[in-house]
């Protein structure tokens, strides 16, 4: 399963999802959030919700010089191995949608785990969990 942005036009920009993602690890605030919501050049135009798309062959993992981003077998997306990561930031550059967030304290990337915790806190059904195509095929 992966987290999917179902309908951005319904997003009201409340950022409840961002706070949820930080709370997932028991923290208040936004520092630990792996999802971002920003206006598309002014709130009158609506929002974009930026989060890992669980690419089948993730560019971030491909550019990591130490192999600290491990593609998740058949499910898309990556797992971050903090001990292997040297904080070079290549992954951040490689993600063209900007879904590699940064933990300024540890100087390491933060990438959505597709746990689905935020979904329950989006009051407008913008977010949902979806099966990857590959997973559908297996069934």
């Amino acid at each position: 399963m992966r987290l999917t942005v179902l309908e951005t036009e319904k997003c009201v920009g409340c950022q409840s999802c961002m706070f949820a993602c930080s709370r997932r690890v028991g923290e208040a605030g936004l520092a630990r959030s792996c999802i971002g919501v920003r206006s598309i050049g002014g709130m009158e135009r609506g929002f974009s919700v930026i989060v890992c798309r669980a690419c089948a062959d993730p560019p971030c993992a491909k550019v990591c010089p130490t192999g600290a981003l491990v593609p998740r077998e058949g499910r898309g997306g990556v797992r971050v191995l903090p001990d292997t990561c040297i904080g070079c930031g290549h992954c951040r550059e490689a993600c063209i949608i900007g879904a590699v967030y940064w933990d300024d304290e540890t100087n390491k990337p933060m990438i959505c785990l597709h746990c689905g915790y935020c979904v329950d806190f989006c009051p407008y059904g913008v977010l949902g969990m979806q099966k990857r195509e590959a997973e559908n095929v297996e069934e």
Partner: protein, 591 residues
């Protein structure tokens, strides 16, 4: 308060010297929680007695609270300053991204003093403050200046951009500060205080982690608050139609001020209703940061250009009950598109408080009708109920101030009436133009005794509709009830909880949430703190020359019948005398 909570940091900025410093004041936040409580103390510390509201010594104080970014709906920033409109306590609240951004940048409050010699904007990012040249932005409206700053500054999605329009630059006494295009520090003229300091905008951004006393309990409590906020029927009306829902019921009830309160029902209420706006114009829904309710309703107005065919302009314009009252029913405007056209000017270009402007134009229309002013004063503008073109012209002149008449309008309705007559229908209370409720004695007493003369101080309009409509009360009982509400609201606005969520944030819940932030207080403590803050505000008001026993009662409110009986001079005078005495006692008892 928990160790490492950045709330205790106060950022002091001096625009004259272009310096800043950060001071830790845990004492203030522990005693007064944040928001209005802390800001009131800072106002006492920073605002010299009798200072010129438009002078460099008038401070701008922003404060947020301990629950901001911890729980939903603690989403307001409180601004305190000395008001250029009333010459007294200026307090205005605003949502958008402002509160979360200030908290996430690592501050509990920001104090801005001094004045710049040239236009500047401030860029505040975590521990850094930059003074940036805003000469290019001067003269620009809210949309354009917002767009340019957006493109020049970091922190997309994590920032607030507070800015002024032409009204603030021109020191219009009731100009506002806009954040995130559609939210405002609307009342009492913060825009002019910005303008007097040559401060075009303040950008604040940040992203941080906040400590909680117990992670598991935090998540549990959060879920509880979140569920109530999303499911609760008390929030539903704000969610569905927004505050505009009130237009029809208020008019039917007979409490909707119309045509400068010559009537209190509007025959075209259905045309200007929340339902009509939703059906024909609603184009987008928005929320403040960390608010799942999303009460902000934005209309899309599509209009052809007059000079060229097949070109259209689509404007996005926010609407709410209060602007529909002030720029709609008060001016006899019955076409939503006309209201939106006027509102667009007010919001985008002029940057003025919609409520004050509406009341001022309503007074001017009646004065014009009665011949107190003529086209000589108005520079050819025919002020007539419903004539939106005339109102747009007059608003433009208020900005340009080509003569004494428009200079007077730029200073508020009382100033204009003192020069041209018609004080009996100049609808201001304590110098602040009237909010949109003519429900009965509760509403008007509420405006009169409220620390900022706003309907939000103590919700007298609600007291009328819920209590006084059922049973008569002695003047003292009404005052006691209003003061009790206002004291409790000091707690809510110190925690910067949106008043729309007052139904879910009960004293009992508040104490539980506070303990997550490491503050252990009983409901009794909250009551005591609320009293102290209220007394402290009044101490400031009295210091600056306000007196409840001499406050002006506009005749008009007694002429137009209100739905709840008891709105007569004798009742109000008695009530005010009692309020005066009670607040005096409160001040003497305060520590």
């Amino acid at each position: 308060m928990l160790k490492n909570d950045p709330l205790e940091n106060i950022l002091y900025i001096d625009l004259t010297r272009r310096t800043f410093k950060i001071e830790k004041r845990p004492d203030l936040f522990e005693k007064y929680l944040g928001g209005t409580g802390v800001a009131t103390q800072l106002l006492h510390e920073e605002c010299p007695e009798g200072c010129d509201p438009l002078g460099p010594e008038n401070p701008i104080i922003f404060a947020v609270g301990i629950l901001t970014s911890l729980f939903p709906l603690a989403s307001k920033t409180v601004a305190l300053f000395k008001s250029p409109l009333t010459g007294n306590l200026g307090e205005s609240h605003c949502g958008g991204r402002s509160a979360v951004s200030i908290r996430m940048a690592g501050y509990g409050a920001i104090v801005i003093k001094g004045a710049s010699s040239m236009p500047v904007y401030l860029s505040i990012e975590n521990g850094r403050v930059r003074f940036r040249d805003a000469s290019t932005l001067w003269g620009m409206g809210n949309f354009s200046s917002g767009r340019i700053i957006r493109e020049n500054e970091a922190g997309a999605g994590l920032r607030t951009i507070m800015r002024i329009g032409k009204g603030g630059e021109k020191l219009i006494a009731y100009s506002c500060v806009t954040t995130e295009t559609f939210r405002h520090f609307g009342r009492l003229g913060l825009g002019a205080v910005f303008g007097s300091k040559k401060l075009k905008a303040v950008v604040v951004s940040g992203k941080s982690s906040l400590p909680v006393s117990d992670k598991k309990e935090y998540r549990k409590l959060y879920d509880e608050v979140y569920k109530t906020a999303v499911d609760s029927p008390v929030m539903k009306k704000y969610h569905d139609l927004g505050t505009a829902e009130n237009i029809v019921p208020l008019s039917r009830f007979g409490g909707l001020p119309t045509r400068n309160l010559t009537a209190a029902t509007f025959e075209h209420a259905a045309k200007m209703s929340g339902e009509t706006f939703a059906k024909k114009y609603l184009g987008r829904r928005l929320a403040c940061s960390h608010c799942p309710v999303g009460c902000i309703h934005i209309a899309a107005l599509r209009e052809p250009y007059e000079d060229v065919s097949y070109f259209y302009k689509t404007s996005m314009i926010s609407y709410d009950y209060e602007p529909i009252y002030a720029l709609g029913t008060m001016l006899g405007i019955s076409r939503p598109a006309d209201f939106l056209r006027l509102m667009d000017r007010v919001e985008e270009s002029w940057g003025m408080d919609a409520m004050s402007l509406g009341v001022i134009l309503a007074w001017a229309t009646e004065a014009f009708e009665r011949g107190l002013i003529t086209t000589k004063e108005t520079r050819g503008v025919r002020l007539k109920w419903g004539n939106v073109k005339g109102y747009i012209k007059a608003g433009g002149y208020i900005i340009d101030q080509p003569n004494d008449f428009y200079r007077a309008l730029a200073r508020g309705v009382e100033c204009a009436a003192s020069l041209y007559g018609g004080m009996e229908f100049a609808l201001a209370f304590g110098g602040n133009e009237m909010p949109g409720y003519h429900t009965g004695p509760g509403a008007h007493l509420g405006y009169l005794i409220g620390a900022r003369h706003s309907h939000l101080d103590n919700a007298g309009y609600s007291f009328d509709q819920k209590v006084l409509v059922e049973k008569k009360m002695k003047p003292e009982e009404t005052i006691d009830a209003l003061l009790a509400e206002e004291r409790w609201r000091q707690i809510l606005s110190s925690l910067v909880i949106c008043f729309f969520a007052r139904g879910i944030y009960t004293p009992e819940l508040v104490t539980r949430l506070l303990s997550i932030g490491g503050i252990d207080l009983s409901t009794g403590d909250l009551d005591r703190i609320g009293r102290t803050i209220h007394a402290e505000k009044y101490r400031f008001k009295i210091r600056e020359g306000f007196a409840l026993d001499t406050v002006r009662l506009p005749e008009r409110i007694f002429e137009t019948p209100a739905p709840v009986s008891g709105l007569d001079k004798a009742y109000l005078t008695e009530a005010l005398a009692y309020a005066h005495k009670t607040i005096r006692k409160e001040l003497d008892a305060a520590p």
